[in-house]
């Protein structure tokens, strides 16, 4: 399976669920297990939430873009915003670190993405927006396509 898609949407929290569903439906083309599919949805939710809360400070005027590509058993995801960016990426990636402790934020977003996907890298800088790239290989490519 080789396929690509791009979606762009406003930085409003309603789109967190929308993004999960869209990427989940797209990734379903490489026949992930239920667990792999929920791992992917989890990672998408974390990255989009980070863009909305931290990138755009919960302001609705921003745009979040998701690029997804399927190749064989692999899913490649790129989730980017043009928000304020991250000054210290290493600090942001530490488990339980949050810049918003008063909001009941767990600080687990990047840790979840790292744990639930195979690879995760963050590209960011103050004033430069943030791009998160993640990959996941599903266990088996069982073709459900009719052979006619």
């Amino acid at each position: 399976m080789d396929n690509e898609m791009v979606i762009r949407f406003k930085s409003v929290s309603q789109n967190e669920g929308f993004a999960r569903v869209v990427v989940g439906a797209f990734a379903a083309q490489i026949n992930p297990t239920l667990e792999e599919l929920s791992d992917i949805k989890m990672a998408v939710s974390e990255a989009v939430t980070n863009s909305i809360i931290h990138g755009y400070g919960n302001a609705p005027g921003g745009v979040v873009e998701i690029r997804a590509r399927l190749s064989g058993k692999d899913l490649y995801l790129e989730i980017s915003d043009e928000g304020k960016g991250i000054a210290d990426i290493a600090k942001a990636r530490e488990p339980f670190y949050t810049s918003c402790p008063e909001m009941d934020r767990s600080g687990m977003g990047f840790t979840v993405m790292e744990t639930f996907m195979d690879t995760m890298e963050v590209q960011s800088g103050l004033g430069q927006g943030t791009t998160v790239r993640m990959t996941k290989r599903v266990a088996a490519e069982q073709s459900l396509d009719a052979q006619c």
Partner: protein, 103 residues
């Protein structure tokens, strides 16, 4: 997200129905705190059997309620999380402070 609370003496059982993410976290937190406003409620059980999705925003909500309940000398229990929710709770260390019943 829909919450259904049942009071049993000094304990509150709250069933969470739907998806718990950043979008639904504020409403979930406010409704849980409304159930806990009466300080004679010592123990809280969250029934997660009807929670179809949760991300780290949910971890924040749970840890926040744990602090509140623990401050009253009560216990927080999580009941019947689905496999995807259970996996997140396990990897984030929530079960180190919160008891789980049912699988």
């Amino acid at each position: 997200m829909q919450l259904l609370g049942t009071r049993q003496g000094g304990a509150m059982l709250v069933r969470l129905i739907g998806e718990l993410d950043h979008h639904s976290a504020v409403k979930t937190r406010e409704e849980l705190d409304a159930y806990l406003r009466d300080e004679s409620v010592k123990n809280l059980t969250l029934d997660l059997s009807s929670l179809t999705f949760m991300d780290s925003s949910g971890i924040g909500v749970i840890i926040g309620r744990y602090k509140l309940i623990n401050g009253r000398g009560g216990t927080l229990t999580i009941q019947k999380p689905a496999p995807n929710v259970d996996k997140l709770l396990r990897m984030s260390g929530v079960y180190g402070i919160v008891r789980k019943v049912g699988s």
